[in-house]
């Protein structure tokens, strides 16, 4: 069976009658394939290692939903700190915008989990078991012999095994690796909802690996569609040099460099012909670059007929690097990143609120002026900690009773409310003044502070201070 010829007017992998056409991308070798594969394996290793490697006593990434704590590379966020992630995520999002505007869909080709799993694991397994594209196409239409059944069963078993592995690693981001290990040794009924989640995710991934594949990128993925708004004619994309390649034809018969060998079409995992220009199916996997370069070198022509370049440069026009959209994306990316970094340094290991107790704002009796406050103190650390509460003010004669009198020991996540009663002798009270309430940990470091106003009767000259 001859492979289908791609058309610019329709999606190759969807037939005229709506049925699915399975693309069998041929194997390819070259600089980009090799580099991308090494990078891909590193990225896959990072995916597995992030919930495994400890940073500051916790896994590098541990989104502990049950404990409502989120550990990110040593930074621990309680669920009330989660607003921070808005800036982290928008910062990362706009960084992606920026990168896309400069070098196109590099995310899709190099870092997207879908591509990492498909290109570096699933298609590798398929190729080892069933052979290269023409052999696989033959096997598709071959009758069901014992050999075909064995190959297919082995391939699908390995696909499901890999899908289950990915699902388990994914779950370990939320329950930690020891947590996952414990669950795997318990009855499935003990954590039946998580068991169902992992099974469902493994099933969905298996379906993706075994059948769905590039349909995800072409039809489902919203980011693939966002590209058209992010890329302009100055962005570097994977493109075919039409001016150099056309008119195409057998070597010696035309002036164009393209010999129409169709290698670029055979290796394409989404079934397009890159010579028809930039298309939404292209995930920038660079297989066609390596395929074409190999042929060009073999027939003694200059490589780079298919290469990374901007649409303007490929059309022989001037290409600009700095454009308004770059500045815009950069500003938004930096905004997100700087707000996140600033706010992350402001995250305190203890929660502290001091509010005035209900009743009179101040009390004058027995020669003293008194203010009543209620302090809320919470321990956001992962272990038990003993805190001291101290008050400081410029006003002499300030005395305090209540929470400041003895150390307070709080377990992880524990929160208490205690009054702080502040007094100043009436005859030396000079008027309203600020009081700083400080929380000191067992190491003697001030870990959080709040300022509260001490109120009292009006005194001459109080506003002159």
């Amino acid at each position: 069976m001859r492979p289908k010829r791609p058309s610019i007017d329709s999606v190759t992998t969807i037939n005229e009658d709506g049925s699915r056409y399975m693309v069998h991308p041929a194997g390819v070798r070259g600089f980009w394939t090799r580099t991308r594969r090494i990078f891909g394996y590193l990225a896959l290793a990072a995916f597995v290692l992030l919930p495994l490697v400890p940073v500051g006593g916790h896994p590098a990434v541990f989104l502990d939903i049950a404990g409502r704590k989120f550990h990110l590379f040593g930074l621990t966020l309680m669920f009330q700190d989660l607003w921070l992630l808005f800036f982290l995520i928008t910062g990362l999002g706009f960084t992606l915008f920026l990168v896309t505007a400069i070098i196109g869909r590099v995310w899709c080709g190099w870092l997207c989990p879908q591509t990492l799993f498909l290109d570096h694991v699933v298609r590798r397994i398929e190729r080892v078991i069933e052979g290269d594209a023409p052999v696989r196409r033959q096997l598709d239409s071959a009758p069901w012999t014992a050999g075909k059944i064995f190959k297919r069963a082995l391939k699908h078993a390995l696909f499901f095994l890999f899908a289950a592995l990915v699902a388990h690693v994914f779950l370990s981001y939320f329950v930690s690796v020891p947590g996952l290990w414990g669950m795997m040794h318990a009855s499935p009924l003990a954590n039946w909802h998580l068991f169902l989640f992992v099974f469902g995710m493994a099933a969905a991934l298996y379906f993706d690996f075994a059948w769905f594949r590039e349909q995800f990128c072409i039809v489902l993925c919203p980011y693939g569609r966002l590209q058209s708004a992010l890329i302009d004619d100055h962005s570097i994309v994977v493109g075919y040099d039409e001016k150099r390649g056309e008119p195409r034809g057998k070597a010696g018969t035309t002036t164009g460099d393209c010999i129409d060998c169709r290698r670029c079409v055979q290796v394409c995992p989404t079934g397009i012909d890159i010579r028809q220009g930039l298309q939404m199916e292209c995930i920038a996997c660079e297989a066609c670059i390596d395929a074409c370069d190999e042929v060009m070198v073999r027939i003694g022509r200059k490589p780079g007929l298919v290469r990374h370049d901007s649409l303007n440069a490929l059309a022989g026009k001037a290409s600009r690097f700095l454009r308004p959209r770059l500045y815009l994306y950069l500003v938004f990316a930096l905004l997100g990143a700087s707000v996140f970094l600033f706010a992350a340094t402001q995250v305190r290991p203890v929660l502290l609120y001091v509010s005035r107790l209900p009743g009179a704002p101040y009390i004058r009796a027995d020669g003293i002026v008194r203010n009543n406050f209620l302090m809320r103190l919470g321990n956001k650390l992962s272990g038990e900690e003993t805190f001291r509460v101290q008050v400081r003010a410029a006003q002499p004669g300030l005395e305090s009773v209540g929470a400041t009198q003895k150390p307070i020991t709080l377990g992880p996540g524990e929160e208490i409310q205690e009054p702080i009663i502040l007094t100043v002798p009436d005859e030396i009270f000079r008027g309203e003044f600020p009081v700083t309430v400080e929380i000191v940990n067992s190491a003697g470091t001030v870990v959080n502070r709040r300022e509260i106003p001490f109120l009292g009767p009006f005194r001459e000259g109080a506003f002159a201070q």
């Binding site: 709506g18 009743g359 209620l374």
Partner: protein, 187 residues
């Protein structure tokens, strides 16, 4: 874009395909068939909605929203009735003999009241609670009301909204257990 104007060779293979009549900024689109798997999810969702609708309305396994809200309102009303009933002096006095309630009251007293009334209850900024002198009434219910409502002009906050009736009752029980001058009330 008109496919016939496309510069590359393979274009125009599908000239017989119907073009949709609309044109935006010179862009037109073909009337292509949707992928079968996509249509399958649509038909699947329609079938699911019929089954779900039948299950929701006729099996009784799932409570409908308004039924659930009504039962929740009833539960809240019931709980409010039980909590809203003020204790009696005798009840509070008897609480003072219950070790568990006294221990709970002591914990609240030490974190909340001891700042002014002292951990030994002998007073400080606040009044002495273990002598026989009571400014705002010395029956357990009087003490309960003083804590609950506060004495604003003397700087005693109203603890009702902060502590709640149960914890105030426990604190009263603790004071009763520490002050032998409080007599057993008639009721």
């Amino acid at each position: 874009m008109n496919p016939n104007e496309h510069p590359t060779h393979n274009a125009g293979e599908h000239d017989d395909d119907a073009l949709r009549p609309h044109t935006y900024d010179g862009i037109q689109e073909y009337d292509k068939r949707l992928p079968n798997w996509w249509l399958f999810t649509l038909y699947g969702a329609i079938l699911f909605s019929v089954g779900y609708w039948a299950y929701y309305h006729w099996t009784g396994h799932m409570q409908q929203g308004w039924v659930r809200v009504q039962s929740e309102i009833e539960a809240v009303k019931l709980a409010a009735l039980g909590k809203g009933e003020p204790p009696s002096s005798l009840q509070l006095y008897n609480f003072g003999k219950d070790e568990k309630i006294v221990a709970a009251g002591q914990k609240t007293f030490n974190t909340t009241c001891a700042a002014c009334h002292g951990e030994d209850l002998k007073g400080g900024i606040g009044q002495n609670l273990v002598d026989a002198t009571w400014i705002h009434g010395g029956t357990p219910m009087d003490i309960f009301n003083t804590i609950n409502n506060g004495v604003t002009e003397k700087g005693m906050p109203s603890w009702g909204p902060l502590l709640g009736q149960q914890r105030i009752a426990e604190v009263v029980a603790y004071i009763v257990s520490k002050n032998p001058t409080i007599a057993q009330p008639a009721e």
